[in-house]
């Protein structure tokens, strides 16, 4: 199986070939001495030329993957060239019309902006309370608040759309 992995602004081509219980790996067209295995849920042990890396994978609601290895954290987007699902770069840039989603389940305790308001990048739009902390949800860009979809006191789920900024 062949994948394009957009990682830190760079596209890597990863080809995985099943070899008995292991996977043989080719990276950017070159076979490499690597051996990868899932040792626990979303936890991969990768040996590259003897170096032992452990990578933890956290999928985000927008389809990107957050990868932790050692002290490094990468954000990646994986595409399968055969299926050609079309690229979803939107999540990685703050251009165009932006949807503001709840990063965690919680309760909206304050709405700080109204539809039609002009807001700056970083300006607070709403406050969501979760785990006894009040968390300000901020605008990802300079623009205008198009819509606020929730009310004060309303419970929201992770990934639920709270507002649109254009």
């Amino acid at each position: 199986m062949k994948y394009e992995v957009l990682l830190g602004g760079k596209t890597r081509v990863v080809e995985l070939m099943r070899d008995a219980e292991k996977w043989r790996v080719s990276l950017d067209g070159k076979p490499i001495d690597a051996d990868a295995i899932e040792v626990a849920a979303n936890t991969f042990s990768v040996l590259i030329e003897g170096e032992s890396w452990e990578v933890r994978v956290a999928p985000k609601p927008d389809g990107t993957l957050v990868l932790h290895t050692g002290i490094a954290e990468f954000v990646a987007q994986v595409e399968d060239p055969r299926t050609w699902r079309g690229r979803r770069h939107g999540a990685m840039e703050a251009e165009g019309r932006q949807q503001i989603t709840a990063p965690m389940p919680g309760k909206v305790v304050r709405v700080l902006a109204n539809p039609g308001d002009t807001v700056e990048a970083g300006q607070g739009l709403l406050v969501v309370e979760a785990m006894k902390m009040q968390n300000e949800i901020r605008s990802p860009k300079n623009g205008k608040v198009e819509k606020i979809l929730v009310k004060e006191g309303q419970a929201v789920n992770a990934g639920e759309i709270l507002a649109w900024v254009d």
């Binding site: 994948y3 690597a34 899932e38 590259i48 990868l67």
Partner: protein, 501 residues
């Protein structure tokens, strides 16, 4: 000694108290809200009783429900842990009415010392310096604002009943005063059921150093030395250590004596903590008394070898502190980090959810006080504290090396944790030299940090893992659907069978 103790708490601190009870041969009784049936404290306790819906005001904060459970289970004492009702004088009062021994100070001592404003007057009375500010809760917004203007910004708004940075706001300018006051009050109300806040001058670059005291019912009060907790994010401690790198025997003696004077003046009995700010001239200012066990108590336990929870229980049972403890000599250095379910890369948003896998660190010098396990769902309703990781070493350097090593071993998937934050702090030259203060971390977090190198083997490994994850999950829709199908079938079957006699 007690026969059965009700633990009026949840999470890691409930587990910590269960452990002490078990080691003393005392039965432990816990309570749980609807979302905590599977929690670790329920699994580990001797007895567990439901106490209502998820919101704490309908469960863990319900005094009457706690008393009902205590009576039903036949408890003879109650340990409040920290947070929830731990600093509410109504709890020791209710205990007295129910013939339960409260493991903590009396309601009167709590009122005399626990309220931040009362504590300040008391400290002044025994010649302990205090930070300038109001001595009473703010009743009139405009008067408070005027006082803030006279003292000069920045000022701090703090919950009278508070702790753990909740209900606290730093105000840097007059324009922010009103909304900060509203936020602090509402957070204080949610967290402690008391909206009162007061005002304090904010010192520049102070260090937070606190003294752990123990007082028995026979008049003996001892200091177990200090902890430094200057690494804070938004007024919330994230790293604590003992001894403080700036401490001298002489300063330790003076601060310890001040703490003991305050405790005596308040008629304090049991374990408590007297918090101070220490400025760049090594002058100290009384801040407040925490009339309960602290989150960071393990740091003191690791250097003194004492078990503070067992001592709390012994004191409540009327035992005397042996004189020898006054001359305790700490050994080595201990440091604690607070592991939260939150995402340091995304504005520290809370990250509740199911823990898919987990690897806990262990080995020499490592202690982990935890309230979670693999497969458990971290509820969204409570504090995001998952665990406290504590390292001990012969020197501060060895302790930091062990903590770093243990953080590399600690992995969790399914939810986000703040381990990456600690890896970053523990590599900062300022921190390693201990040139820190209570705003240091907030300043550090404003500095951009280098993006990870994409031309590294780490990046190669990440790319491979990402592709491999995709292989597994490209096929997931099929198998997930199948699994759901068969679960549906099973449910159907169960319903059918339940109808049979």
């Amino acid at each position: 000694m007690f026969r059965k103790i009700l633990i009026a708490n949840r999470g890691e601190i409930a587990v910590r108290i269960i452990r002490a009870c078990r080691e003393l041969g005392i039965k432990s009784v816990v309570v749980f809200s609807d979302v905590d049936r599977n929690s670790l404290h329920v699994r580990l306790a001797d007895e567990a009783y439901p106490i209502g819906p998820a919101p704490s005001r309908e469960s863990y904060l319900c005094l009457d429900k706690l008393m009902t459970v205590a009576k039903r289970a036949g408890c003879d004492a109650l340990h409040p842990g920290y947070g929830f009702l731990a600093e509410n004088p109504a709890l020791p009062r209710a205990c007295t009415d129910t013939s339960l021994t409260f493991i903590g100070p009396s309601a009167e001592a709590m009122e005399a010392l626990g309220s931040k404003t009362a504590g300040r007057s008391l400290a002044r009375g025994v010649d302990v310096p205090i930070v300038p500010g109001t001595n009473d809760p703010i009743e009139n917004l405009e008067e408070a604002r005027a006082l803030a203007q006279r003292m000069g910004y920045p000022v701090l708004l703090k919950a009278v009943a508070g702790g753990g940075g909740k209900g606290m706001r730093l105000v840097s300018a007059d324009a922010e005063f009103e909304s900060a006051f509203r936020d602090a009050s509402s957070e204080a109300m949610n967290a402690f059921g008391n909206a009162s806040v007061f005002l304090e001058k904010y010192l520049e670059k102070p260090r937070h150093i606190e003294i752990q005291i123990l007082a028995d019912a026979h008049g003996r009060v001892v200091s177990l030395g200090e902890r430094e907790c200057s690494v804070q994010r938004r007024h919330q401690k994230v790293i604590e250590e003992a001894p403080s790198p700036i401490m001298t025997p002489e300063l330790r003696k003076r601060m310890g004596d001040a703490a003991v004077r305050i405790a005596r003046a308040g008629g304090y009995v049991n374990a408590g903590t007297v918090e101070f700010l220490v400025d760049t001239h090594y002058d100290y200012y009384f801040l407040e008394v925490n009339t309960r066990l602290q989150v960071e108590h393990p740091v003191t336990e690791q250097v003194t070898g004492l078990d503070l929870v067992k001592l709390q229980i012994a004191i409540a049972a009327g035992h005397r502190l042996p004189f020898a403890w006054e001359s305790i000599t700490p050994r080595g250095h201990a440091m604690e980090v607070r592991l939260y379910a939150e995402d340091p890369e995304n504005n520290f948003f809370p990250s509740p959810g199911k823990i898919l896998s987990r690897r806990a660190p262990s080995g020499p010098g490592i202690r982990l006080d935890e309230g979670v396990y693999s497969g458990w769902t971290v509820p969204m309703d409570y504090d995001p504290l998952l665990a406290k990781l504590i390292a001990w070493g012969n020197s501060r350097e060895e302790t930091i090396a062990r903590l770093r090593r243990a953080l590399e071993e600690y992995t969790v998937t399914g939810i986000k944790t703040n381990t990456a934050l600690f890896r970053r702090i523990l590599a900062e030259p300022d921190f390693l030299r201990s040139e820190i203060h209570t705003k240091w971390l907030d300043e550090m977090l404003k500095r951009p940090h280098a993006a990870p190198d994409t031309d590294s083997h780490a990046a190669d490994a990440a790319a491979i893992a990402a592709a491999l994850w995709q292989v597994t999950h490209d096929s997931a829709p099929t198998s997930e659907r199948t699994e759901q199908d068969s679960r549906w079938k099973l449910d159907g079957r169960n319903r059918q069978l339940d109808r049979m006699p």
